[in-house]
């Protein structure tokens, strides 16, 4: 039984390769091999680190903001005459928006995810408790805010119309009820039992107190200077300025037609103001994530080009070897080696080269990552990226070897009798 298996194995193409002579052939081409192996090693370092950075950026791009991004747009109405009444204008506009059949809801707000600016407040569960201070970006919305943004309220209740304070810019009275995000709730009270937190009191900027009326699942901050993008607090306030910013959520697939309709309508309804900065959330999102999209694009272009160059290098060397060893291959074929033997010899050579390159490449990859960690505070490279890059290089190497190896396979045994 065992001898049978042994015999079977010895007949497999790879088992019949004479590794020692092959190894010494490779060692004889010292320069070409060194250059090739270094090339593979550097490629591994760049690909693994590049993929890692790109995948981190992709994670950022894929996070949700908590609002209905696909069906929402914003616009600004700026009143410019002296007798322009911002409050009446705002109330009329909002009432008209909310009646339009293609609009789900609308709200007046200067901050929304991707708007790029907001105030940050300091929240605490107890007064004077330094340790439990949680920063939160502040949203000022009326009772339509939750519906207009498309947030999901998972505990407590929405604001009632009577709780909403209509304020001018200089009036900074803080309402006595607030809605917070789950991230803020967990930061303040270290629990995930959301309904138990409704009705609790929190302290804002060490000066005001307010009761938690509701908790929303997610609402990202308009911008994130402190690395706490999920922390937001909603106040039932509407601030009236000559320039009002409206956020409008439409029914699915009605976004573009509604934008046109709203613009036409606003242009006619009040001549004392101008409409500007009509933007969809999608375009704003692209602007905000522009650098990340750019980084991913650049990294992918680099990785692809590099892979092609590495493949060309491997293919070039192999073709050259095939050309050089024409006669040698012919002799081997004449002495009884079959086509598969020749093919597998070239593949085995390639795998040996790639393995050597990958071995050195691991060191390079880790070294490059250590440098980037130290200099630019990048996270540590998980080993899985090196393994993935190594697999890619094996596949690339085999693909690059394929064509020249097939040519070698078809060298006729008669070649042995020809002189060079």
């Amino acid at each position: 039984m065992i001898t049978k298996v042994k015999k079977y194995i010895s007949q497999l193409p790879f088992a019949r390769i004479a590794y020692r002579p092959m190894f010494s052939t490779l060692l004889r081409q010292k320069y070409a091999m060194t250059v090739l192996i270094l090339q593979i090693a550097l490629t591994l370092a760049v690909i693994s680190n590049g993929l890692f950075i790109a995948s981190q950026r992709l994670d950022i791009l894929q996070r949700t903001s908590g609002i209905d991004e696909n069906n929402t747009f914003v616009l600004t109405s700026s009143g410019f005459t002296e007798n322009f009444d911002p409050k009446t204008s705002m109330q009329t506009d909002l009432a008209e928006f909310r009646q339009m059949p293609t609009i789900i809801d609308a709200v007046a707000t200067y901050s929304f995810p991707f708007s790029g600016s907001s105030e940050w407040d300091d929240l605490r569960p107890l007064l004077g408790n330094e340790q439990n201070s949680v920063p939160a970006s502040s949203y000022k919305l009326d009772e339509h805010g939750i519906n207009a943004l498309g947030l999901s309220l998972i505990a407590g209740e929405n604001f009632s119309p009577s709780e909403v304070l209509w304020q001018t810019e200089s009036n900074k009275t803080i309402p006595n009820v607030v809605i917070i995000t789950t991230s803020v709730a967990e930061g303040l009270f270290h629990t995930q039992d959301w309904s138990s937190l409704v009705g609790k009191t929190i302290f804002i900027n060490e000066a005001h107190s307010a009761i938690i009326k509701g908790i929303v699942l997610q609402l990202q901050a308009p911008w994130d200077p402190v690395g706490q993008i999920e922390n937001s607090i909603i106040y039932p306030r509407v601030v009236t300025r000559n320039s009002a910013r409206y956020l409008i959520r439409t029914k699915p697939a009605m976004l573009q037609s509604t934008i046109a309709e709203v613009e036409r309508h606003l242009g006619m309804s009040n001549q004392q103001r101008m409409i500007r900065k009509v933007q969809t959330i999608q375009t704003l999102r692209k602007e905000v994530y522009g650098p990340d999209i750019a980084a991913i694009t650049i990294l992918l272009v680099v990785i692809t080009t590099l892979s092609i160059i590495a493949a060309m290098g491997i293919g070039g060397i192999t073709s050259f070897n095939v050309l050089q060893r024409h006669k040698q291959i012919g002799i081997r074929r004449a002495l009884g080696a079959n086509k598969i033997d020749i093919l597998s010899q070239f593949f085995a050579e390639n795998i040996m080269q790639t393995s050597a390159g990958i071995f050195i490449g691991c060191i390079f990859a880790v070294g490059l990552n250590m440098f980037l960690v130290a200099q630019y505070a990048l996270p540590k490279l998980p080993f899985i990226y090196i393994i993935f890059a190594a697999l890619c290089l094996y596949v690339l190497g085999i693909l690059a070897t394929l064509k020249p190896a097939l040519r070698a396979m078809n060298v006729s045994p008669a070649e042995a009798t020809r002189s060079q």
Partner: protein, 434 residues
């Protein structure tokens, strides 16, 4: 002789067309990758005020609450308060001094054919213009006005002047805006400093403002606080003046000194100022003034993002891979020529002349690589402005960079070819002549 080498090289290259193109393209790709990333870093960190950047200083005071840091770990805020800005500017201890902030308001041209628009405004002291060498098309800026005596004057950007006055010389004309009547005293020429070092609260690269106004107008007309407005006090009253009198920081304060040697003297003045304010009960923290010249300030604000450096290092490795690749291709190229070289040796060519000929050949490939690299660079930079729309104002391929590209390409082709060339020169002709 050189001509002969050249001719021979061209012949060789055209005989091995595929291989030669491959070598040049590989080199070109590597060089383009490096040059694109390098030129981005180079352009982003370019000195915005050559010849005087070392004596123009950004001033910061640490007026923050005891035990709190405005910027971690313990740095003063980037901006200063209204009070400090006014005190320092009116003390006139430097050659030029100006505080500035961004704001906005409705511009309502008298001509009814021009629709009103929301103008983005830079509110600043008048010495802003000479200090930052702002180019004027017509007229000029204004002097720093004394504390309570401000005139309603304005300077327009070139595009605003075109929008309102059709591009004509509008100096002396009046312009209604913000509910008041302003007199135009100057019109700027094209001016788009990148990075926009004097106020980076909206990032390092953003559009120039439409209109420039004296800073005191901001307080008179209670214009909105643009840019960063950072406060640590919690009990600020509701009115506009209360913000101006608070510890809220919003203004970028700049001074120009007669020479860099006056820095010490000016630092002493600032120290004395803070001590005097401490006596009035302000500045609870220890004195922590920061006086950064323009380039230090750009470094402090990390204008060149870490991304750019990461790309640059990856591009360097990319070039290295391309070099190794070109080297192995060259080695193939010259090994294929072994018998030809042997023949030439046998016919009397010495090692030096073989070396020179091969070197000419690699240099030609390098030159070709430089050409491909330059073309790729131009396309690459186009791609960059597409990916980063903000950069379009300053991204371009300049002469120096082009020269560097050509040099790098030649050097790398020679580096890549050197060992194969040496090998081919040293081979014994006899064995190849059989």
């Amino acid at each position: 002789m050189l001509q002969y080498y050249f001719k021979l090289s061209l012949k060789n290259i055209s005989r091995q067309k595929g291989l030669s193109v491959l070598i040049s393209t590989t080199l070109g790709l590597g060089i383009a990758a490096c040059m694109i990333t390098y030129s981005l870093i180079h352009l982003m960190s370019k000195d915005p005020l050559p010849n005087k950047s070392e004596r123009v200083f950004h001033i910061q005071f640490d007026n923050w609450q005891l035990g709190l840091a405005a910027i971690a770990p313990d740095l003063p805020p980037d901006e200063v308060t209204w009070r400090d800005a006014m005190n320092i500017v009116h003390a006139k201890q430097a050659k030029y001094q100006a505080a500035n902030a961004i704001t906005w308001g409705m511009v309502t041209p008298a001509d009814k054919n021009i629709p009103p628009f929301l103008g983005i405004i830079r509110a600043t002291h008048g010495e802003f213009f000479p200090m930052f060498k702002v180019p004027f098309l017509y007229g000029q800026g204004w002097q720093n006005f004394p504390a309570n005596n401000v005139e309603y004057v304005t300077v327009l950007s070139k595009s605003t002047n075109k929008r309102i006055f059709g591009g004509l010389n509008s100096v002396g004309q009046t312009l209604p805006m913000l509910g008041k009547l302003f007199t135009v005293v100057g019109v700027l020429d094209d001016w788009h400093p990148s990075p926009k070092f004097f106020d980076m609260s909206f990032g390092a690269f953003y559009q120039p403002e439409d209109i420039y106004l004296p800073l005191q107008i901001k307080s008179e007309l209670e214009l909105p606080h643009g840019g960063n407005l950072n406060c640590w006090e919690t009990n600020i009253a509701d009115d506009y003046q209360a913000i101006l009198n608070s510890e809220c920081v919003n203004l970028n304060l700049w001074v120009e000194l007669p020479s860099a040697q006056n820095k010490q003297q000016y630092e002493n003045f600032l120290k004395a100022y803070v001590e005097q304010q401490k006596a009035l009960g302000r500045f609870p923290k220890a004195i922590n003034n920061q006086l950064l010249d323009i380039n230090q300030w750009l470094a402090h604000k990390e204008v060149v993002s870490a991304d750019m450096y990461v790309f640059f290092y990856l591009a360097l490795l990319f070039l290295l891979v391309c070099l190794f690749n070109a080297a192995s291709l060259m080695s193939t190229k010259f090994t294929a020529k072994n018998s030809e070289v042997a023949l030439r040796r046998a016919l009397g060519a010495n090692q030096q002349s073989i070396f020179a000929q091969c070197l000419t050949e690699t240099s030609i490939l390098g030159g070709l690589g430089a050409l491909i690299g330059l073309v790729l660079c131009i396309f690459g930079l186009q791609g960059i402005t597409y990916l980063y729309p903000n950069f379009s104002a300053f991204v371009s391929l300049d002469m120096t960079l082009m020269l560097i590209t050509v040099c790098i390409s030649l050097v790398s082709s020679i580096l890549a070819g050197l060992i194969p060339i040496i090998k081919v020169c040293r081979l014994a002709p006899a064995s190849y002549l059989k």
